[in-house]
Point group: C2
Chain length 619, copies 2
């Protein structure tokens, strides 16, 4: 994986040029390499060997405490020690001022080695980043910095049992916590009551405290909350209360673990149902405080302004969505590597000659069979392509943060359009890669003696959390491609066209360039056709097939752009086998994958009503 990562970072994305910017001036290709080396080593030594254990020794709750295997504590201690939690932060906040693209490349090793153990760090980083963007000075100092330092880990608490994807139905309530609530140095203080479901990392004892970021609604004077997402505010709810110096006060907040969810995979990350404010841990009851005068109610500190909670949370969600995409990608990659190794050493069968097979010859490694090569090449095309896309998105984050005005704005806009793809595409296709990795192994792949079945189970979550597939489709076709008069889509199209124009001048790439031009034109037509009646019900009835077609087209673009660079390096005398591999994967993608868009776009273009018109009693 490392040679591909280096090729994408240096040859394709040209990350060295980032060191010309003031923020990254202390860095060099050497410092980047050193970060990657360190992370690769920690992932190899502390994460990968225990990935199976983190699955078989599932977290369990004894009614009082949650138990995790020792390996999880040790792995995360090593991660914290590396300083990676604050990798992209300012020096003054204890960070390394690394570009986001390098941070992501470094984190890819952990996702590949053990996506579930790595989950805690991803959430903590996203949580603290949100506070750096929207929290008060005290909130940054007390909460974010202690998260970056790894003293405390963080969560995001959005979903509720009665409202998964439908955030407008959040029913958790927050009321001011007594007369001095406005003047708390940690932010306006509230008491929260409600249940939060699917909270990853919601309980553990890896760190001394857990910083929950919680969506809740503040009732008006009539006791009613505002329907819809506009009424949602964001609160910091620490598991244990702290003072302005970040010291634990010794008070347990009223946040109780109702239970652990027992999952199909991703078991190393605890997944919880949390009860906020039900009085299980009364807190500050002395002066008749709390919702019941006896200390019930989880104490939380408002972040930013009331009613803007979902907008702030999307800061974290967008990062988390790219993080999910990276996790899905690296699970796919792990399976690809495992099945490649297996295919190289497993002898079985013989090549088909013109006269059939010669059974008197010895068996050959299965990598010599065309269908096994197909399954490996598909995995390579899915996973390396997805990795390229995720790194490209991270590079856009850097551009948004450190580019000049117009470039930064463009990067932001492009990121908006690409985020649903960065999240959904690897979730679907790197899961398919994991299935192919099982298939390459035959019966062995179906046993728990080989790692690939776990990758497949772990990866199935990624189409669900941080916005299910259907939600991503609605976001893309319902919002992203039409926002600002379609400027985001137009900008993406201009980037794709630039790649096509360059590829047209390279004979070996003229054919895929032409195929991509056709695909892009068809995406444009399908977008128009979907919205031709102006009725969202017509347009969005086939939002998921649209998402799939859009994703395959974006990946074809990424592969063509990567192939351009590979061809150039090949012409310059670069590593022939390595570069031919990139060109073959691109060829595979254009010949076997891109043509799939026809079937998906057909129903979008015709606004096919088959699904929308289906009646409940016809099933």
């Amino acid at each position: 994986m490392r040679p591909t990562l280096d090729f994408l970072l240096h040859d394709w994305l040209g990350v060295a040029s980032l060191t010309e910017r003031a923020r990254f001036a202390d860095h060099s290709p050497e410092t980047f390499a050193s970060v990657l080396d360190t992370c690769e080593r920690i992932a190899r030594e502390k994460f990968a060997p225990y990935n199976r254990l983190s699955d078989t020794e599932e977290p369990h709750f004894d009614g009082d405490r949650v138990h995790l295997p020792e390996c999880t504590h040790a792995a995360l201690a090593a991660y914290v020690e590396s300083g990676m939690l604050a990798a992209a932060q300012d020096y003054e906040n204890g960070g390394m001022q690394l570009p986001c693209v390098i941070e992501m490349a470094a984190n890819s090793f952990f996702s590949m080695a053990s996506v579930a153990m790595g989950g805690y760090a991803m959430l903590t980083n996203g949580n603290a980043n949100l506070l750096m963007a929207h929290g008060s000075a005290a909130q940054k100092e007390v909460f974010a910095k202690n998260e970056f330092a790894g003293r405390w880990f963080g969560t995001m608490c959005l979903s509720e049992p009665q409202a998964g994807s439908s955030l407008s139905d959040v029913a958790t309530r927050a009321v001011p916590d007594g007369p001095d609530s406005e003047s708390d140095p940690l932010g306006p203080r509230f008491r929260l009551k409600g249940n939060k479901m699917w909270i990853s990392g919601g309980e553990h004892e890896i760190t001394e405290n857990i910083v929950h970021l919680v969506l809740a609604k503040i009732p008006g004077p009539d006791g009613k909350t505002v329907p819809g997402v506009k009424g949602i505010s964001l609160f910091i709810v620490p598991k244990k209360l702290v003072d302005t110096e970040g010291r634990l006060t010794g008070e347990r907040n009223d946040v109780a673990l109702a239970g652990l969810n027992h999952k199909l995979g991703y078991r190393g990350t605890t997944n919880t149902l949390l009860n906020f404010g039900e009085g299980r841990f009364p807190v500050r009851a002395e002066q008749g405080g709390g919702l019941d005068g006896k200390g019930a109610g989880a104490i939380g500190y408002l972040v930013g302004e009331p009613g803007r909670g979902l907008a702030y949370m999307f800061h974290m969600m967008n990062e988390a969505r790219i993080g999910v995409g990276l996790g899905a990608t690296m699970l796919g990659y792990a399976g690809y590597q495992a099945s490649l190794e297996y295919a190289r050493q497993r002898p079985q069968g013989r090549p088909m000659g013109p006269g059939g097979k010669d059974a008197s010859q010895p068996q050959v490694p299965i990598i010599q069979h065309a269908d096994v090569k197909r399954m490996l090449l598909a995995q390579k095309a899915y996973c390396e392509g997805a990795l390229a896309l995720e790194l490209y998105c991270a590079r856009l984050v850097d551009e948004q943060a450190t580019g000049d005005g117009a470039q930064a704005a463009d990067a932001g806009l492009l990121l908006e359009v690409l985020t649903p793809i960065a999240k959904s595409w690897p979730s679907e296709w790197c899961l398919e890669a994991n299935s192919l990795a099982i298939q390459v192994h035959g019966g062995y792949g179906y046993t728990r003696d080989f790692p690939v079945e776990q990758y497949w189970r772990d990866n199935r979550l990624n189409m669900i959390h941080e916005g299910a597939h259907g939600i991503q489709g609605l976001d893309l076709l319902g919002r992203k491609v039409v926002m600002e008069g379609g400027q985001g889509l137009a900008l993406l199209a201009s980037k794709v066209h630039a790649t096509i124009e360059r590829a047209r001048r390279v004979p070996a790439l003229a054919e895929p360039a032409s195929a991509l031009a056709q695909a892009l034109a068809r995406i444009g037509q399908a977008t128009q056709a979907a919205w031709a009646t102006g009725d969202p019900q017509d347009a969005l009835a086939n939002a998921t097939p649209y998402l799939q077609a859009f994703g395959h087209t974006v990946l074809a673009w990424v592969w063509l752009d990567v192939a351009l660079r590979a061809q150039q390096r090949l012409d310059e005398g670069g590593d022939a086998a390595f570069l031919q591999g990139k060109l073959a994967a691109a060829r595979y993608f254009f010949r076997y994958e891109l043509p799939r868009i026809g079937a998906w776009l057909g129903v979008v273009e015709s606004r096919d009503p088959t699904c929308r018109d289906m009646q409940d009693d016809w099933f």
Copy 2:
């Protein structure tokens, strides 16, 4: 599921007409219904409630015995009690002379309720059927009849650790067992030595004995075996030796469990590595018998002629392949039903109106969302379509057995062509259905509190066992469509054309009829193009995409034929909601699924060499 099953059996396949044949003369629609009622009830009472338990209480081996949960014993006792093991057998053999299509319909309830617990019965039935076709009178009487009676269960032992799909590399050896070996009343007696891998039901204590059917090679006078499949013979190797009256002699045969495979799913069926003849259980050592003079060597009885073992085994394999297809189908169906029920009761979100969503309205059941309907309709189209195909194949088995000469021969030929599809298509698409069932459930689907994640895990095996996907593709494109000068393909095409012609006369079905005609023509062209150079390496490089396209075309045919019947019943005033559902599923299949074949056939037609030409060191 039952209304669909009844519709397919009676309205679509017209099974009542089978009762006009002598073999089924005692039967009537009422006796068929009674069998289905009984099986539905046993499956509901004895299988379904314990399916999760059969997964969580995985079989374990204490070094001496294999332990299974009590529910597995009870479920199979009820199955045996029902007489279903011999359902299709002659009255004189204790059977019910049921048509195969009714037997399969009845078994579908068990596959749906617990595919893993039902696995033992399917294997036993296939094993005994093989002996009825190829065994001696004594072998039928002693082994087959005791299997039909459920006293003993059976296995099929093909694979070996060093040779999974490559049966020509079978290394298990069989040598005559002493001077009187030819005159054993149970058949020529041999001593076997070798290891067999992936043997389902290879060890358990559900029944007092286990009848293994084992592929092995008989060495020539030079001690060498014939390379390739021609040297393979078939042996009956009972776990415990028996006499000609079917009584246990008290002798343990030299068959030892080396270990259980711990699988991703399908855990209720033990999966074993068996050591034959390694001397762990010396047997009949008295007169210096056995391979080492001390009783080593598993005693086995030759079935039929030496060297014909694989041909005999294919009798069982073809049945088993359709059985795997049915199992995959019913797992898909189980997930479809579970997710349909969930979607009907789970409130979340609101319909999108022209002005967006109105958050002040109550949430609606998710079945009202277009994308959820899409996921349910896809499952319906996959699973009901696959069920129709499996029943159609079973109907062909009946035709082959009881039709007149030409019809019987046609049925046999058609069955040859359809078997790879009947096995592979549900394995791929009903697995996809299970993934969609998880998706409909959202996070809940990913937990072990709901059944769908288990269905998905169980179903993943079906693309691997009884001939992996790649093997089915080679069988179809390399053998089945070219055999007898392409007669099988031509026969299938004539059946498809007959449906198209009928559909063309029904206005509502003219569009899909035309689409199917185009698809069929393209399959024909692609078959020719694949073989245009006559080189199997060219033709078979894309055998799997060919299999996928062929499968989707066959299913489109099945759906058009089913839709014809549904439209007819609708015109006659049949149950409108039920029949509209069939028409909607057919419409979904033609609009969303059939267009996929373009991408698959593109690479077949161009004999795309991308995969074949891929080099090991390019990965």
